[in-house]
Subunit: 557 residues, 2 copies
């Protein structure tokens, strides 16, 4: 049982910051405060790992410590394969995780390879070494809930409540994001240890063991106009229909009917991610090993029940959204014909941002010193003085979000702003204002980096949802632009067969060479999202491309 802590401070343990950065970030992904199950190398999202085995981890670390400025480490599904000679403007690490030829891109085939030790599930930022704990998802969830509030409740969520499921690595952000957006939240979670973890880290306020208790709290808080959250220990496939039944009974429901319904159980992984109805958590975990087929069948059956209830909420007029866990697809495959009645969160709330290259921009202080992040917070406010929304977010994040592992910050900014922020951080490193370099990265859930027809690219205007040329080009362009590490993944949050996506991280080490790379990478990366949406026919993307002088001869003429 090893506990991993990244080195901190200004001393190098590798030969340069360009290799120290991936080394610290790999270790940070496995930090006990960051990873969901670090001893199994699991970072988040069910089985999303940072390395295939501990032996692989050790050799990656050794290789990075040894890597020269013109060498590149090649990693295949969490296993270090080769050290090759490239050049100083090339990435120091190139990663491909969980990719399968389409006809074989199923959980069955993946699990068989995984059992043989030939594969690893990389999720998005787990296998690409830029997970920053639950904070990463808070911002996205906050933006989504806030946008839903704007669209359905005149921008005011006071006295309203959100029903959801799942308090895992991602889902754990929901109660806090809801509260930040001004709403109450009832989150159904079957694993009490997960609920306790969220309460301990300040992401959730209370715990309840019965629906009655939970609804009583919701009733009290909404009545008082207080934004608070409760974790209800239970199975979402039981609780969602039960709330619906009470709603439809006509008897007044304490707290009133939910105002927004969503879910973040790990439905994308039917063997490891979703507790079947009527099972204990212990039974579920042991059968994942001994009877995976049985778990899968039972979980899928329960998901159908769960989604049927969500469809009924939707039909009853409650804004309901799929939060990107592929649960509608499972239900459809199980025979629920109208599983896709309610929308995914991207077309409903996020795509307009993607059209302008706006998405999750995150950075991490390799020094390990929270002061470095507070300094960048302040610098961001100075750099974008008129962005009131950004200022509010940065203030709330500082007040409410505890750092996990290396101090990090996230905000959503787009093309034209990202490279300015990156260059500013680089100068702050150069001047000594920050104690050590900073890495800048993003989730794979971004505007140009993913093809995922049930999530990020659901219902594209031109029908190009499934075209995965785009994330592949994103990875090639980031490699050609000089990112510090680049990754290509399959599966991610929606599971085997359903998505392909690319990750990028770049290290601002304060050198002029890094500045040139930052300028290219942090321009081209969001730009790739703008082209992708401009090509699909979104007028706002075309406007954004024109405004920023992108050269798209066939699209803009």
């Amino acid at each position: 049982m090893r506990d991993i802590f990244p080195p901190t401070g200004p001393e190098l343990s590798a030969k340069s910051w360009q290799t120290e950065a991936p080394l610290r970030m790999l270790m940070n992904n496995l930090h006990p405060d960051v990873a969901e199950n670090p001893h199994e190398l699991v970072v988040y999202g069910g089985i999303g790992r940072a390395a295939r085995t501990w032996d692989d981890f050790d050799v990656i670390v050794e290789s990075l410590r040894d890597l020269e400025a013109d060498e590149t480490l090649v990693v295949q599904s969490g296993k270090p394969i080769a050290i090759v000679r490239t050049h100083e403007d090339a990435p120091r690490v190139l990663i491909a995780n969980s990719n399968l030829v389409p006809r074989w891109a199923t959980w069955d085939h993946f699990n068989a390879l995984d059992r043989k030790g030939l594969m690893m599930y990389g999720q998005m930022t787990a296998g690409s070494w830029i997970y920053i704990g639950t904070q990463g998802i808070v911002q996205g969830t906050f933006e989504t809930f806030a946008e839903a509030g704007r669209q359905h409740y005149d921008g005011d969520l006071a006295g309203r409540w959100i029903l959801t499921g799942g308090l895992g690595g991602m889902g754990g952000a929901q109660p806090l994001a809801a509260v930040m957006a001004g709403a109450c939240c009832l989150a159904v979670e079957c694993d009490e240890t997960r609920a306790d973890f969220r309460i301990r880290t300040g992401y959730c306020d209370e715990k309840a063991r019965t629906l009655d208790d939970a609804l009583a709290m919701i009733d009290r808080w909404t009545g008082a106009g207080e934004a608070k959250s409760v974790a209800l220990i239970g199975n979402a496939a039981d609780i969602f229909p039960e709330i619906l039944r009470r709603m439809q009974d006509g008897a007044p429901l304490p707290g009133g009917r939910p105002d927004i319904v969503t879910d973040q159980t790990s439905a994308h992984d039917p063997v490891h991610g979703y507790l079947p109805q009527g099972w204990s958590v212990a039974e579920w975990r042991s059968k994942q090993e001994t009877a995976p087929k049985e778990v899968e069948a039972a979980a899928k059956h329960s998901m159908r029940v769960h989604v049927a209830a969500m469809v009924d909420f939707w039909n009853a007029g409650v804004p309901t959204l799929d939060y990107g866990n592929n649960i509608r697809q499972v239900a459809l495959d199980e025979g629920l014909a109208d599983a896709f009645a309610f929308p995914g969160f991207v077309p409903a709330y996020i795509r307009p941002l993607f059209c302008r290259g706006i998405g999750p921009f995150r950075w991490v202080a390799l020094s390990g010193d929270p002061e470095d992040i507070y300094k960048t917070d302040a610098a961001m406010k100075r750099l974008f003085p008129e962005n009131a929304h950004l200022h509010r977010w940065l203030d709330m994040a500082r007040a409410r979000i505890a750092f996990q592992g290396l101090p990090a910050r996230i905000c959503w900014i787009g093309l034209g702003d990202r490279h300015r922020a990156g260059l500013m951080f680089n100068e702050m490193v150069a001047s000594g204002e920050l104690k050590a370099p900073v890495v800048i990265g993003r989730d794979h859930l971004d505007s140009g980096s993913v093809a995922s027809p049930n999530r990020e690219t659901e219902a594209m205007k031109d029908g190009s949802d499934a075209v995965s040329d785009w994330p592949l080009l994103n990875a090639l362009v980031n490699t050609a632009s000089g990112a510090t590490w680049v990754s290509l993944h399959h599966g991610g949050g929606v599971g085997m067969g359903y998505s392909q996506h690319a990750g990028v991280v770049i290290c601002a080490d304060g050198t002029p060479e890094a500045a040139r790379r930052l300028e290219r990478v942090l321009w081209n990366d969001p730009a790739s999202g703008v082209w992708r949406h401009a090509d699909a026919g979104y007028e706002s993307a075309r406007e954004c491309a024109r405004a920023h002088g992108l050269r798209l001869p066939r699209i803009l003429g």
Copy 2:
């Protein structure tokens, strides 16, 4: 109706040879002597295109003419999307063709997108601009037939004959390769214009309209010990079973039973690639537009008949091989349970070469002058004085293979040899011995560049046939190493859902910068095949890795 001819000679039409090279090679792919159907932008392999539309072609050409030394053109399924700023050691063109998220990676979905103008089928070297006409395939086919001869007939194919189908872009190489390997060949081709084209270009000797006539020729040639070839106009799904019937009748078959059986119809594309039994070619072509579903069903049914005959040949003791067109999979899906009774050509004959990074190495004289190729032929013989097999091939190729479009040469060499050849060519350009720069590339069918479980990665030792991390890493590494253009494709010769693969081309323009890139790219590219096979447990790959000092810490220890 436009005819495209690449510029030739030492004058630039673009701003540098690094951009002139992709420009000439794109045009060369559409040269009337190179492309199978240039007016439709189809290069080879059914519908493998060089650009999505003529407008796209024009903008690609314009963009390349204009491109600066630190800019990169991004091409998505044959459409030029963006011109981005990178740096001088980055590729000048990055391409992704025909990639679809696995769950949607079907012909149905692809064809729907293609009809909407959102996609293009890139095949392998069609959409990545390094097709060199039928010559490209002659070497591979020759090596395969020669190896089959070594394994089954003591290396002597005199008096023996090969039965096959299809004389298209690739399949057209079969009669010549057979003859070069010392055997006769009977190739069944339904489209007379294709047969005539092969006869006109010297790849096939005779034409027959009936099986009796064709067998009489085979009888005469094999009897006389002459290696000659005949194209029989007919449907392979009729002719293969008919020969089998005659063989099984017991009556002596003129020419005797076939000694090797294979097939190169475009079975990978059931709508455009395979004529159903009982249909005329004209009816087939028109229904491809008006009733694609009907064509597909009928073609698949005929393929089952065709493969059933191949299985019977195999069971009768005739060496039978799948030549990578996925026809066994179609027959299996159609219910032929033992469709995979006979092997693919890769595990049977090619994998031992792949383990040493040996695969198709090709180069093209951008001058357009055949003398430049003859000079490189001679230089290759000097560089590899003890490689008698290579010398024989180069001599035969010069004697028997007519150039198509820009003069080109191909041979199979591996890790440790490719970069030496590349550096030598670069010096020959620098010294003025060659009249203009040379491009060096390869097919995607190479040791580290493809995952294709029914073809290149069939029956891998560790069961990792479907793991496509490898070709993605190959493309990322080639991009990071400074290739001139890099591509990532899906589908290729085996069709939608069945493969992912990467292409690479690099221009030797005689500069020291190009020399540095050549050394990296032509080392790392074949090395990626050696790691891939070393990781899969092939001892010869591990030996090769050790002998060449590859740094594979987890594999070699």
